[in-house]
Amino acid sequence: MKPLKYLYDWIDVRIGARDIVEKELTGYLLPRNINVWYSMGSILLVIFSLQVLTGILLLIHFVPDADKAFTSVSNITNNVPFGWLIHTCHAVGSNMMVLVLLLHMLSVLFMGSYKRPRELNWLTGFTLFTLVQGICLTGYLLPWSQLSFWATTVATNSVNAIPVVGSFLVEFLRGGKLVGPATLGRFFALHVAVIPVAIAALVGAHLFLLQRTGVSTPPFGIKDSSNPWKGDTYRYEEHPGGIPFFPNYMLDDLRSISIYLACFLGVVFFAPHVFFPATAFLPANPYLTPAHIKPEWYFLANYQTLKIFPSEIIGLAIQGAAMTFLALLPFIDRGAEKHPLKRPVFMVCAIGGLLLWIGLTIWGHYS
């Protein structure tokens, strides 16, 4: 251990490493009533890192050319050593990222952590949610399978409902009148360069805001002697007598991450095709539309909403209104109370909205 201590001392006298550790790790105190839902952000950071790592590995063998994309993905899966593992981890990981992100947002909603002074945390988080949906949508096309080709056709076509500029936007998104090689090129660029950089930047902003405002106090369990924001001036929400982040809460985080990894690897090894119908394994054929083409599970509610309204523009407007309402929620729900059972209007709206979303998703799946 002596060489490590020597190295630590060597760094410390130069950059004050002990001060940083004291301020950001051992002296960084969290509320005593903190719970497991606070680990969702750490799990998401792990998932994003794994997606970046597996994505870089896939880039080594993937060919972003409409004539070669499907063959290159087949080659990764069937011929490259452990290519099946890297590919499955990336594909399953994208679904898990959306799932955990939804759980993270739900926990923030029910514990009232979006409330002031954390409006900016919510806004950056909500933007991250839309970017994650964007990165999933653009990545979905890349294997150039029947599923990816036709799901992208349906998804991009929904933009057509926007009055006046709809048809232009569809053509602009696709790089042509139909989904084709030009679509693959622009979706590839968005998927591997533009959106990941935007996500990384927003994650940085999200963490910076968390660091500046301090961790929110959960509305459950024992009372925390925190120092809440009053609105008069900037105040970091301290938790005197709280739990140190390192090593105490980091171990809790590690436990949650391990449980997530166990679930993730369970899907990868025992149900790798749970997210993929048979059409995901057929090469794209622009002249043969498969029956009952559906988007990914997290877009099924949007898909069904568009179907149930006689006019697509109404369906699109309702979705836009719902998303805007959610994005601006901290500015609409301005009450100080955070306990969900003491917020009956919120509870009715949140549970009703959640049930509606689940219902539309199931309806979309079986429709």
Binding site: L57, V80, F82
Partner: protein
């Protein structure tokens, strides 16, 4: 003291588990990135003798690398590795001078692969070949 002992023990267990997990992840990643053994078709390349006029050289892929077959003026055949022994560039056949030039650092070799000038430390590696019924079999 008892707590410290327990803490150290758990720390060692966690460290061990983390090392095992890192090894379990590293192996597939290493295998994924490692170059795959090139399938050499029984290590032999065949060229028709009539395709090798005097004073000409023919470059081809041999055992996952580059090789060259040269027929000198006078008819004598030589098969060599085309990889320069200096820094691994591929040599070029200079028909007018009847020698090999490495364009990277101007190393020169005779048609037999012997160094004439420049930085290459040793001759080009010779490759065995046989000629039967008008067919040259290299390797």
């Amino acid at each position: 003291m008892e707590n410290d002992g327990r803490r150290n023990f758990l720390g060692i267990c966690l460290g061990g588990l983390a090392t095992l997990a890192a090894a379990a992840v590293s192996f597939p990643v290493f295998r994924y990135l490692a170059p795959r053994s090139s399938k050499v078709t029984n290590g032999k390349v065949t060229i028709l003798e009539k395709d090798m006029p005097e004073g000409e050289a023919k470059f081809f892929e041999f055992a996952g690398s580059s090789a060259v077959l040269v027929r000198k003026r006078g008819g004598e055949l030589t098969a060599l590795s085309a990889v320069c022994t200096h820094l691994g560039c591929i040599v070029q056949w200079e028909k007018d001078k009847q020698d090999f030039l490495c364009p990277c650092h101007a190393g020169r070799f005779t048609p037999e692969g012997v160094v004439i000038s420049g930085p290459p430390p040793k001759a080009l590696t010779k490759i065995p070949f046989v000629v039967t019924n008008g067919t040259i079999t290299v390797g």
